[in-house]
């Protein structure tokens, strides 16, 4: 991966991400049912292959394209008072860590490749951890963000468990901002919309500079990442299933988001 030149695929370039290989339009369920079957037999293993391995392989290139914070996330982080204690769960390259240097954030990600980038941002801290097995005390944190993470979990149960795991870290007054890719994005170049297949493979195309190519080697490699595209209201359903309360919710740039906290019936350690 070191040989990759980010210059050949500038951030935001429409060439870096191709439309998904699974057809959304023809109503043929064969591809989607394959995804479901595979993911339900051993979802953790499925995600290891179709999410974690891919992120480790594309880490430097992915990181070079991820530097622009989304406005809702920025506002949420800036609203935290100085000395607040927070988590960035599934932090990737840590692009949200520079936003508020007056709070202390422990950022975690499964990708050892991406966490190296995240660990550069002071005064925060970065660790390798799984969202479904977080190494944090319960009921301790003032806030948490979980941006573009839960859509990589391949079963409904695991997505609910992830929301529960996030709420579990929060104090009674703590709030979490959760953000995931929307199914309804008809104006994006991908063109998904209501009624499209929700479980899709999305390609990441990585181009190599010509000088780095071995003889006869193709100048681009395509990696496929698994996504569950959230439909309208689905994130709120996840929060309610975890006995959380939705404080605020909305849609921003092809993503659904919620700000949530623990509800009255919230139970630590509960199996969902």
């Amino acid at each position: 991966m070191e040989a990759t030149s980010p210059n050949t695929a500038p951030p935001g370039s429409t060439n870096t991400i191709q439309p998904p290989s699974i057809s959304q339009q023809d109503g043929n369920p064969s591809n989607s049912s394959t995804i479901q079957q595979e993911s339900s037999s051993n979802p953790a293993q499925y995600e290891e292959q179709h999410v974690h391995t891919v992120y480790n392989e594309i880490a430097p290139h992915f990181s070079s394209t991820r530097y622009k914070p989304w406005p809702i996330v920025k506002t949420f982080l800036q609203s935290q008072p100085p000395g607040s204690l927070g988590l960035d769960i599934g932090c990737g390259n840590g692009k949200y860590l520079p936003i508020n240097p007056s709070v202390f954030i422990i950022a975690s990600d499964r990708s050892s490749g991406l966490i190296k980038f995240a660990s550069q941002h002071q005064p925060h801290s970065a660790i390798i951890a799984d969202t479904l097995a977080l190494p944090h005390p319960r009921g301790k944190f003032d806030f948490a963000i979980c941006i573009a993470v839960v859509h990589h979990l391949s079963t409904a149960k695991r997505r609910r468990q992830a929301v529960h795991a996030i709420l579990e870290t929060l104090s009674g007054k703590g709030k979490a901002l959760i953000y995931a890719w929307a199914l309804e994005q008809r104006d994006s170049r991908r063109g998904w919309d209501e009624g499209s297949e929700q479980d899709v493979m999305v390609p990441w195309v990585m181009k190599k500079a010509k000088r780095d190519l071995a003889e006869g080697e193709k100048n681009e490699t395509t990696f496929q990442r698994y996504y569950h595209l959230y439909r309208k209201g689905e994130m709120e359903e996840n929060v309610e299933a975890a006995r959380g309360v939705v404080v605020e919710a909305g849609y921003e740039k092809d993503n659904w988001w919620v700000i949530c906290s623990r509800g009255k019936g919230f139970e630590e350690g509960k199996e969902l």
Partner: protein
């Protein structure tokens, strides 16, 4: 891995979460390095009530630092004593575990720290 971070970490194994033995994780054969980080007195003063002081004391001693005072400093202490503030900043934010392990005193699982980053991914039999 900052000393402050250790105050907000437990064992990743679900069954350990409810036991007091899983907190704090115990540093084992740790190498320390020192970073230079811009001081932020407000951050530290506001965060201090969230720090489990006895846990911090046991970690400091395990890492070879002198014993801490039995009680945490008050905001007034910190405001009037710049050396105390500077020492706390050095211990909590600038001191890093670069290599070593963190051990759960309940289940005995060891989490490795490499190049300053602790890895909490569990082997399959512990998930």
């Amino acid at each position: 891995m900052k000393v402050l971070t250790l105050n907000f970490l437990t064992c990743a194994v679900k069954a350990c979460k409810t036991t007091s033995a899983s907190f704090p994780l115990v540093p084992k054969e740790c190498e320390l390095v020192s970073d230079t980080i811009a001081p932020n007195p407000t951050l530290l003063t506001n965060l201090l009530p969230r720090v489990d002081w006895p846990a911090l004391g046991s970690i400091a001693v395990a890492l070879g630092f002198p014993s801490l005072s039995p009680l945490p400093p008050t905001p007034a202490d910190l405001e009037n004593d710049t050396k105390m503030m500077a020492d706390l900043h050095t211990l909590l934010l600038e001191t890093q575990i670069s290599e070593g392990s963190l051990v759960c005193a309940n289940c005995g699982h060891e989490y490795k720290v490499k190049e300053g980053i602790a890895n909490f991914l569990l082997p399959n039999h512990l998930v």
